[in-house]
């Protein structure tokens, strides 16, 4: 059995694992980040419903990590079909930056988003400053996405 898998398309299985891993990590991180911001945001809206739009924008920011994970997972899935063992392993590794950095940065970004919602609660006009602070964290997820895309492209 093991020999069969080894001789045939274990590479494909590995790639599938890589895609799953990548999205599992990034997706759950994004969910966590968004939910953190959402919880605090609902409190702010309960006090002043006119702040819905700025709160919504801030809440949506940590969701991009999920999208990045999705994109990389999709690119990996696109590679599936007669992959060799090395290629399969490479794809697992290629998915990791978007996955792991996505997971961690989404949670951290969620924390900054929560703090920025605090800004909005006091002064809606300063929303953009909060957005910029929150986006600072995002840069690393973007780098991770790029590295992943470039690595997937090389396999």
């Amino acid at each position: 059995m093991f020999k069969y898998v080894l001789e045939n398309n274990l590479g494909d299985v590995l790639a599938i694992i890589g895609a799953a891993l990548c999205f599992l990590l990034a997706g759950s991180g994004a969910a966590k980040g968004v939910s953190m911001a959402g919880k605090v945001g609902s409190g702010v809206i309960a006090e002043d419903s006119s702040k819905f739009v700025p709160v919504m924008i801030l809440e949506a920011l940590p969701s991009t990590q999920g999208i990045y994970g999705f994109v990389v997972a999709f690119l990996i899935i696109g590679k599936v079909g007669g992959l060799s063992l090395e290629q399969g392993f490479s794809l697992i590794i290629a998915g990791l930056p978007a996955g792991v950095v996505g997971l961690i940065s989404a949670i951290f970004q969620g924390q900054v988003a929560v703090a920025s919602i605090g800004i909005v609660a006091k002064r809606s006009a300063d929303m953009v400053k909060g957005v910029v602070l929150t986006l600072m964290v995002e840069l690393f997820a973007i780098f991770a996405l790029l590295i992943s895309i470039l690595m997937v492209g090389k396999v």
């Binding site: 999709f74 690119l75 840069l139 973007i142």
Partner: protein
């Protein structure tokens, strides 16, 4: 693309003409009145400030009117426009309304009274309905519910749990020979409602027994026979409902006057502006002095009109070199569109160039690259164009829609270059994945190439930022700085880029084979230039040297900034890939009727979602690239907005 140049204006007039003149200035809305300090030697000549009591009075009237307006808007049945704009009304008409201020305040009071009465009626109905609910079990009781005794018999009302059978207690009462009778009136799923009649000679024993079967005494403070009470309550409720309907219809009738009430509200807003401005101007015994800023182009007309209508002296001069004046921006379509985004960062100060037009070009370009789908861009542009042409808009809304329009157009162009029309809709519909509609190249197939172009655009954007810095220095007549703060950096950064060109993916080999040697040869010279020029403001030879060395750190910043533009690729790819996935999901049903229906559904919902999330992303990331990477290079900001004394209204716009 400009900061409007301002002149200082100083008006001295007669005190008896103060009100009319301020009112005149307010109608013109051109003079930004500044706070004028009183010199200590004139403290007993001039006074400042206004009557706080009048302000409180106006505030309370405005609060009343504003509450009435919110009620009236609720009951206003006329069609509401999609975008809220202030209504244009004629000054004559406005003045004819404001003659009847008191009547409209009376109307507002009536509106609020009527509105509150609806609330009271509703509370009353609730109370009556609750009473009916409480009384319903006793409907069949034909004695007054509060009757507790007759001559010899005490009457106690209460409940017995539903599971205690009537036979049980009748039998028990008989066997014990108690002077008591239990009459069941009604029952629900938990309890039987009973009236017990107990002879007054012996209350103790029957009560003791009844307690043992969980008899629970109920007392009511109604008076009357339950059936009749319910009937009465029902009648009152229907009468109250009629009252509510009447109140609503009179509110609807009042709502026809919403426009007038709004005009009166704005009348008070205007008079408040006129009142509070007294805090800024000096008033003496016979005269007053106004000090302010006025846009250069308005000077002639305003001064002419002032001197014609009033006895006054007007003095106008240019601002001193070190004097800050309020900032008013004047831009064409492009520059105007992005001012909202820039203002969220800061207003430019009065001595620097207005960056809006340049910013608008890059904003739209980057937005386009990140949304990167011609289909989405087309939808956006068409919607924005229709809104701009068909609807009346307030300025802030209009400029946002303009920004979205130019961003949409940029998105179409970029999308067409990438060959992305609603993802890969065209190849999907023709079911031939090999079709390439890209005018340039498909970034999903060759992301490295787009990465290179993103970084190059980043370098250009940053260079333009340095260019703006040079331009600002020229404006300030610091010609040496204009050269030395810009050109050495261009040289240095360009050489650094040449040096690393071979590490950037997708740069053709012959290109980096030429660039790298140039970079290698010239980079040390460019570094030397930086070392020699960037410490020049520091004191002492060591200060200058270390200042120069510290400037090298900017190279790291520069690299970080350039890499940050890789988001142009990442966000663009995300849109394209998700778009393709949606098409793939949608087309799974094939070319059959159910297949087409699923396709339509998936298409609309999926692309709607993809558009929303990516347009939001494109907007915030494009703003961020301006704020952090671009503005950082040259923008000083900190300008104070030009805010003239004008008719600051909420609901109406007065036309001459």
């Amino acid at each position: 693309m400009a900061v409007v140049s301002m002149k200082k204006i100083c008006i001295t007039g007669l005190l008896k003409e103060k009100k009319p003149m301020l009112s005149f200035l307010q109608k013109r809305g051109v003079v930004d009145i500044q706070d004028m300090p009183i010199d200590s030697e004139y403290e007993n000549v001039f006074t400042k400030g206004y009557d706080k009591n009048s302000e409180a009075e106006i505030d309370s009237k405005m609060a009343l009117l504003s509450k009435a307006i919110s009620v009236l808007e609720e009951y206003d049945e006329s069609k509401k426009p999609l975008f809220k704009v202030r209504k244009d009304i004629d000054r004559q008409y406005y003045e004819s309304i404001t003659q009847y201020n008191d009547e409209f305040i009376g109307l507002a009071e009536k509106v609020i009274e009527t509105y509150n009465s609806i609330g009271d009626f509703r509370d009353e109905i609730n109370r009556l309905e609750n009473d009916i609910l409480t009384l319903t079990p006793w409907t069949d009781l034909d004695i007054p519910i509060n009757m507790s005794k007759t001559d010899k018999v005490n009457i106690v009302l209460g409940t017995i749990p539903e599971f205690v059978k009537p036979e049980t207690y009748t039998q028990a009462i008989d066997e014990k020979g108690l002077l008591c009778q239990v009459q069941e009136i009604s029952r629900d799923k938990n309890n039987a409602y009973v009236a017990t009649y107990i002879h007054e000679s012996d209350m103790q024993q029957p009560m003791h027994y009844l307690k043992s079967i969980d008899f629970n005494i109920l007392e009511y403070d109604f008076s009357g026979i339950p059936g009749r009470l319910i009937e009465e309550n029902k009648q009152t409720i229907s009468r109250l409902k009629v009252n509510i309907e009447n109140a609503k219809s009179s509110l609807k009738e009042y709502a026809l006057k919403t426009g007038e009430v709004q005009a009166v509200y704005d009348h008070f807003a205007i008079s408040k502006g006129l009142l509070t401005v007294d805090d800024l101007i000096l008033s003496g015994k016979y005269s007053f002095i106004i000090d302010g800023w006025i846009p250069e182009e308005k000077v002639e007309k305003t001064v002419g009109a002032l001197e014609k209508d009033f006895v006054c002296h007007v003095f106008v001069r240019d601002p001193h070199d070190d004097e800050e004046f309020p900032v008013l921006l004047k831009n064409g379509f492009l520059g105007d569109s992005v001012t909202g985004v820039t203002e969220m960062f800061s207003l430019p100060n009065c001595r620097e160039a207005d960056p809006n037009t340049v910013t608008a070009i890059f904003f739209a370009l980057f937005f386009g690259m990140m949304l990167s789908d011609a289909g989405y861009g087309l939808v956006m542009s068409v919607v924005c164009a229709v809104i701009l042409l068909k609807f009346k808009l307030e300025y802030a809304t209009a400029r946002f829609i303009k920004l979205m329009l130019i961003s949409g157009i940029a998105t179409i162009i970029v999308g067409a270059l990438y060959g992305s029309w609603f993802g890969d809709l065209i190849p999907t519909i023709l079911s031939d994945k090999s079709i390439n509609v890209a005018l340039w190249f498909d970034p999903i197939a060759d992301p490295n190439r787009l990465l290179m172009w993103s970084l190059i655009l980043g370098v250009i954007h940053i260079y333009v930022g340095y260019g703006m810095k040079g331009y600002n220095n020229i404006k300030k007549k610091k010609y040496l700085d204009a050269v030395l703060d810009v050109l050495p950096w261009y040289f240095f950064f360009t050489m650094a880029c040449f040096l690393v060109s071979s590490y950037i993916p997708s740069v053709p080999e012959n290109v980096y084979m030429t660039l790298t040697p140039i970079g290698k040869k010239l980079f040390p010279y460019s570094a030397a230039v930086i070392l020699l020029t960037q410490g020049r403001h520091k004191k002492g030879i060591f200060g200058k040297l270390f200042g120069g060395i510290a400037a090298f750190y900017d190279l790291i910043n520069f690299m970080g900034d350039v890499l940050s533009y890789s988001r142009l690729l990442a966000m663009g790819l995300a849109t394209g890939v998700i778009g393709s996935i949606i098409n793939q999901l949608g087309s799974a049903g094939g070319f059959t009727i159910p297949g087409i229906i699923t396709f339509t559904l998936v298409f609309v919902v999926g692309h709607g979602f993809n558009f929303a999330i990516n347009a939001l992303g494109a907007y915030v990331h494009s703003s961020r690239l301006q704020y952090i990477e671009f503005f950082n290079k040259f923008f000083e900001g900190g300008g104070v907005a030009y805010s003239p004394l004008f008719e600051d209204t909420k609901y109406i716009r007065i036309r001459e």
